[in-house]
């Protein structure tokens, strides 16, 4: 099957610091890929490049055949307007480490902001869909609460519902459980497992190796701005051959 997201020869610099070096990556529709690796290795930056929250200095990222940030005409790439970039981002859902719900909006308003405000779909219908999503993440009773009234785990589940409401082609998760108290991690991972089981295409940056083992189709290991290993969970997690992967995994476990 054709790849949904492709990164090819991706280069990213912060000033003179070469954060992402020649990244080649692809994910097919319905696939779940976990990205693991030490802190500072560029995992978040890679996700942010896919969603165009960072500029890139070389190579390209494409989402469902469209090159991110550009319109292609033969071999010429023309930069897209702010509006067109925003349109491209609609097909990529993102869940952040620290949730970033809109504190001045209720849970329901957070979820319908995108479908109603951006996609201009009928409010009635979007509210119904939002309630269905809330039910799916186990928060049907919190529709009218404000984010500040929810626990971290609940906020993160709302954030997942908010991203899903846009009906994205792919969901990106940047350490979605790292800011949570240990007892709240499970409820978020549970929602993510359900998403994976129902065919959602997902890229998940995480330190939860148990989750990777159980859910991932592929695991990607990043270190110092490079992808240095890719394989099935069994290959990467159970019998790592690369010494850096080996030492990372023994450190995390």
């Amino acid at each position: 099957m054709e790849a949904l997201i492709v990164a090819h020869g991706l280069q990213k610099y912060f000033g003179t610091f070469h954060v992402l070096q020649d990244i080649d990556f692809s994910i097919r529709k319905g696939e779940v890929v976990c990205i693991i690796g030490p802190s500072g290795s560029g995992k978040s930056t890679f996700l942010r490049c896919i969603n165009q929250l960072e500029s890139i200095e070389g190579g390209y990222v494409s989402v469902d055949g469209e090159i991110a940030g550009y319109r292609r005409d033969g071999n010429h790439l023309y930069p897209l307007s702010d509006r067109d970039v925003a349109r491209q981002r609609q097909s990529v859902g993102m869940v952040f480490q620290r949730f970033h719900l809109f504190p001045h909006r209720t849970v329901l308003e957070n979820i319908i902001e995108g479908p109603v405000g951006v996609q201009r779909r009928p409010k009635q219908q979007c509210a119904e869909e939002a309630r269905a999503l809330l039910k799916r993440v186990g928060l049907a009773h919190k529709a009218d609460a404000y984010p500040g009234e929810l626990s971290g785990g609940q906020q993160q589940r709302v954030a997942i519902a908010r991203a899903l409401a846009m009906k994205p082609k792919v969901m990106l998760f940047d350490e979605p459980t790292s800011a949570l108290d240990p007892e709240l991690v499970g409820e978020v991972l549970g929602v993510m497992k359900e998403l994976a089981a129902t065919g959602t295409t997902m890229i998940v940056v995480t330190h939860e190796l148990g989750f990777c083992r159980e859910v991932a189709d592929r695991v990607v290991f990043m270190d110092a701005g490079r992808i240095i290993e890719t394989g099935t969970p069994a290959e990467i997690l159970e019998n790592p051959t690369n010494p850096r992967v080996k030492s990372f995994i023994s450190a995390v476990l």
Partner: protein
């Protein structure tokens, strides 16, 4: 040591500290105040003129004009301030430079000078308009009201821009990124997500500036705009009761400022409660019982 340990708590009596310093200080200030009031009372002030003019038609018209100018100039200032702040934070270097230039220019010169420039614009541009479409005589357009409105509003915008910018900067960048990630444009994210949250930081200083504006409008008296100071001046040019009439103006300024200060207090209370995490519970629309359950 053992003495304290064995003591029964009931046997201690706390002797209040004698606040002699405070009492002396209060006495000094009260004396000064009495002397001051006495001086004014015995001074050559014809208080009857104050009473006569306080609610006179001309003075009342001036008060109304002062209030109108305060709100018009602040409205223009806030509009320009938000615009300049958003432009200043844009990715577009042209918009950014325009905003920086605007703030630099209009904060860099005194408000009075700007009023005079606007009012005297006819000296350099006898007519204004779009060549071929229409043309107006500048003296007809640049009335005292228009000159004061532009002069005060535009310079206020330069200050407000900095206040709005500080407010925007106080909001976590993650809010913008979350908004972008659900497909908002940067402009929409700023207007719909960031600015409403920034209000909490922006509103108190704007309240302050509005109070400042009440008094700043007095500058417009110089260019013949009949706000309250101009009104009392017109009266004392005729009857020479300068101090009496200035007292009339002072009373009105203080009245307006007092009313605004009270309003500001309520607005601040509203915004410091709102938006944020738990404080919102009190203002949430749902009945308290439901919220208690939910928590």
């Amino acid at each position: 040591m053992s003495d304290t340990r064995l003591a029964d708590p009931g046997q201690f009596v706390v002797v209040p500290r004698r606040k002699i310093g405070t009492k002396i200080l209060a006495l000094v200030f009260i004396t000064m105040l009495v002397l001051l009031v006495r001086a004014f009372w015995l001074g050559d002030i014809a208080w009857s003129y104050v009473g006569e003019n306080l609610f006179s038609k001309a003075v009342m018209a001036g008060v109304v004009n002062t209030i109108i100018m305060t709100f018009c100039a602040m409205a223009l200032g806030i509009l320009l301030g938000v615009l300049a702040a958003v432009m200043r934070m844009s990715d577009n270097p042209v918009l950014r430079s325009v905003s920086v230039g605007y703030i630099w220019l209009f904060r860099g010169t005194p408000a009075l000078l700007q009023l005079l420039l606007w009012f005297n614009l006819a000296l350099i541009f006898p007519t204004i308009g779009i060549p071929g479409l229409f043309s107006l005589r500048t003296v007809d357009v640049m009335t005292p009201f228009v000159a004061a409105f532009l002069g005060l509003g535009i310079q206020q915008g330069a200050y407000t821009a900095e206040v709005v910018r500080a407010g925007i900067l106080s909001i976590d960048k993650g809010q913008t990124e979350a908004a972008l990630s659900i497909g908002m444009t940067k402009l929409r994210a700023t207007l719909k997500i960031v600015l409403p949250q920034a209000m909490r930081v922006i509103v108190p200083p704007i309240g302050n500036e509005t109070i400042g504006m009440v008094k700043l409008t007095s500058l417009a008296s110089v260019i013949q705009y009949s706000e309250v100071l101009r009104s009392v001046e017109d009266i004392y040019y005729v009857n020479s009761r300068v101090i009496e009439l200035l007292i009339v103006a002072a009373i009105w300024y203080m009245a307006v400022v007092t009313v605004l200060s009270i309003g500001q207090m309520y607005i601040e209370r509203y915004f410091s409660k709102g938006w944020g995490a738990t404080g919102r519970k009190e203002t949430a629309p749902a009945p308290p019982a439901t919220i208690e359950e939910a928590v």
